[in-house]
Every structure is written in C-alpha cells, then in structure tokens.
Symmetry: C2
C-alpha cells in the first residue's frame, strides 16, 4: 500500500484510523503547552477549544492511545502526553537517513523539532560530488553509493527521500535493499516498494488543494 487512500482500508489493516493518528500531534502540542504552564489536569473540552475542534472527536481520537479520562475532570496531563508519545513511538528516538541534500533536504536537516517527534536524521546522502564531504546543519554529506551498506550495518528503519522525482524510485530501491522499512517520501513520484515497506507521502499538493478550494469558495461568497 503505497499511499494512504481510504480510512476504512487502513483501519482494518492497521488497527487505528490514520485520520485520528494524524490529529494526535496537534493534541500533544496543546497538552505539552498546558503542562508547561503548570496545569495538571486537561479535559477534551479544553483541548477542543484550543484547536477549535469538536470535543467528541478529540475524545474518540485520544481513546486509540488506550488512555481513559476521569469523568468531569479529564486526563492527567503528564499521563496523556506519555500515552500519545508511546502510541506514536515518539518516546524512543528513531534514527533516520536522508537522501538528497537540495534546498528541501537542507530544510529538513535544519528542522530541530524532529527530535521532539521521535526522529533523528543521523546521516545525509547525495549523489552530487560537489556536495559530498561538505557539512550541512551539523551533518557531513556522504556519497549516495554508501547509503545501502550503511543503512544495513546501522539497522536504520526510516529513510527520508528528498531527491529529484526522477531519481526517487532508484533511491527508494536502494533504501529497501539496505533494510529500510519506512520511507518518508518528499518527492512527487509514486513509489513501488515491497508490501512490508511503508511509504508515507509528505505531499504539498494535498494541503494546497484544501487551501485553494476553500479560498475559491471564500472569494465567491
């Protein structure tokens, strides 16, 4: 399954609905901020207000982490943060490789917040010989030809794909050969991978579609 297309499909296959999973980071953000401001208990209503969301939806989404709140009181903030982090696998930092150190790849290397999100890009690769050997955002760029072997030796599970679309399939194949099990695809290419490998698209066009279609309706009215 290369892209997440239908809710029902993934619900059945993976145990939790991906739309709910995708909303968890938003809740985590809010609850962390509330905890930092000294709050001990948080309710769905409060989280929903912060995000202008529906409290029932929030309650349903949080339930997938296995946590249960106390009626009229809500959740212990620290326990709720932990439950979300454990559910997402963000309590253990996963090492990742990045392929493609163009503008986007460089932006991803500089995105400090990934460490809060359970991912650490430990090495960056590029096929451009003028880039290899340079240090970008604290990581030395290695030749792409070494990626497969290093991924295998270092037991890397996550590959971040930021190469040109024309090279995407080739580099994805090299990631899979190196034992990478999850590819975060920042290219516009659709990838063919074995069925045990996860591909998640970080596709700007879907977010832009939501923006422009809503704008079009605003301009009409």
């Amino acid at each position: 399954m290369s892209t997440m297309m239908t809710d029902s499909e993934t619900t059945e296959a993976r145990g939790a609905p991906l739309p709910s999973v995708r909303r968890l980071p938003l809740y985590l953000n809010v609850v962390r901020a509330l905890r930092d401001s000294g709050r001990e208990m948080v309710s769905c209503t409060h989280i929903a207000e912060e995000l202008q969301a529906d409290p029932t939806q929030v309650r349903k989404d949080l339930a997938i982490t296995g946590i249960t709140g106390k009626p009229k009181v809500g959740y212990d903030a620290v326990e709720l943060i932990e439950a979300i982090e454990v559910f997402l696998g963000w309590n253990n930092i996963s090492d990742a490789f990045l392929a493609g150190v163009g503008n986007l790849g460089t932006a991803l290397l500089g995105y400090r917040r990934f460490e809060n999100l359970g991912m650490n890009i430990v090495a960056a690769f590029d096929s451009n010989q003028t880039k290899v050997g340079r240090t970008v955002e604290g990581r030395k760029i290695l030749p792409l030809s070494r990626m497969t072997n290093l991924a295998s030796r270092m037991h890397i599970h996550i590959g971040v794909l930021a190469v040109p679309a024309s090279a995407a399939q080739t580099v994805a194949d090299q990631m899979v050969e190196g034992g990478i099990l999850a590819i975060w695809n920042f290219t516009t290419a659709r990838l063919n991978v074995p069925s045990n490998v996860i591909v998640e698209r970080a596709d700007f066009s879907q977010s832009l579609a939501a923006l422009t279609s809503r704008l079009k309706r605003t301009l009409k009215s």
Copy 2:
C-alpha cells in the same frame, strides 16, 4: 477556524468534505499521466488500481467536482482533468507572497510544480537585511516591511508563511492587514486570524505521526 479538525464540521461549513478534496490532486496526477500516454477514457477502477485505493471511494470523491461518468466506460480524461482543476481553482493561477526565505522558503521558491497547482509565488520577503536584495530562484527578496502595502496594492490573496515560529503571528497579522485571505502556514505556530481568513497548516508532524505509528506496528509484528 484555524485548522481543519473534523470532517463533519468542514463538510457542513464548506460544502465538500476536505478529506475528499485532499485526495483530488492524487487522482489528477494519475489522470494527467494516462492522458499523456494517449488514453481517452478512464474509469474509477483504473484510477483506484494505480493508487491502490478503493474504487467506491474514488467515485465518491470525484462526484464532488460535479462530473458524472458513463456506466462501464468511465470519464473522458480531458473533461475529468478540467473538472478537477476547476473545482480546486487550479485553472486560474493565483499569485502568492512568500514570507521567510530560509532553507524551507528557498525550497518552496524552487518548487516548480506549484504552477501546475494553480499557485505562483510572485514575491518573497524577509526581515534579514543581509538577504534583502538578493535573488533567490529568480525572485528578488524584498524587505518584509513592504509586504503589507504591496499585498494590498497587488490584490494578493495567498500568503505562504515560512518564517520562524516566533515571528509567525506578527507576520500573519501583516498578511491579514494587507488583505490576504488564505495563509499557508509552514510554521509550527498556531495562528489567530479573523474568521474570514483561511489558515491551512502544512505540518510535517502529522505526516510523520502516520509514518512512525505504522512503523512501530510493523516492527512489533
């Protein structure tokens, strides 16, 4: 409504379910590729196969554009492309301003595909005096202090926000003051804007949540 939180909420408010809207670019991609390879008619089944999706979902999603296919034959590819483009507002290119020319902003300026997606970044702004005046990806960087006035004079509707999170609200306020109606938020900040202004988050963390939670389940089994 700063972020899209619940399907039902937006369905009611905007006329079409945003999850369906977000999938349209994927279908558009497939149908464009089929047309380019000489195909005249396309069916939901065919599109679904290409994307490993559910044909019923595809049919339902395409229906929001108002197009109806012919039983057992499908859609005229050219008509389907046009219907999706018109629905998304991608048949008319919208001019946009970009604020913040760091690594991410530079990557966005270099993303040629936006023009296929109905958006053209016509000017880029930064508050850093060492950046102002430089040309990046064919656009001269202008001082951020000029953005509000220029947006208003040029009737710009879309603002792409790629500044540091700490500056996000201030720059968003300046966009709104300049008459910008839709903000594409690449920062991690939550924005307060008037109710007639659309904010769409391009948030990596939600996509990463889907990736890591699925990887966690793969590693368990």
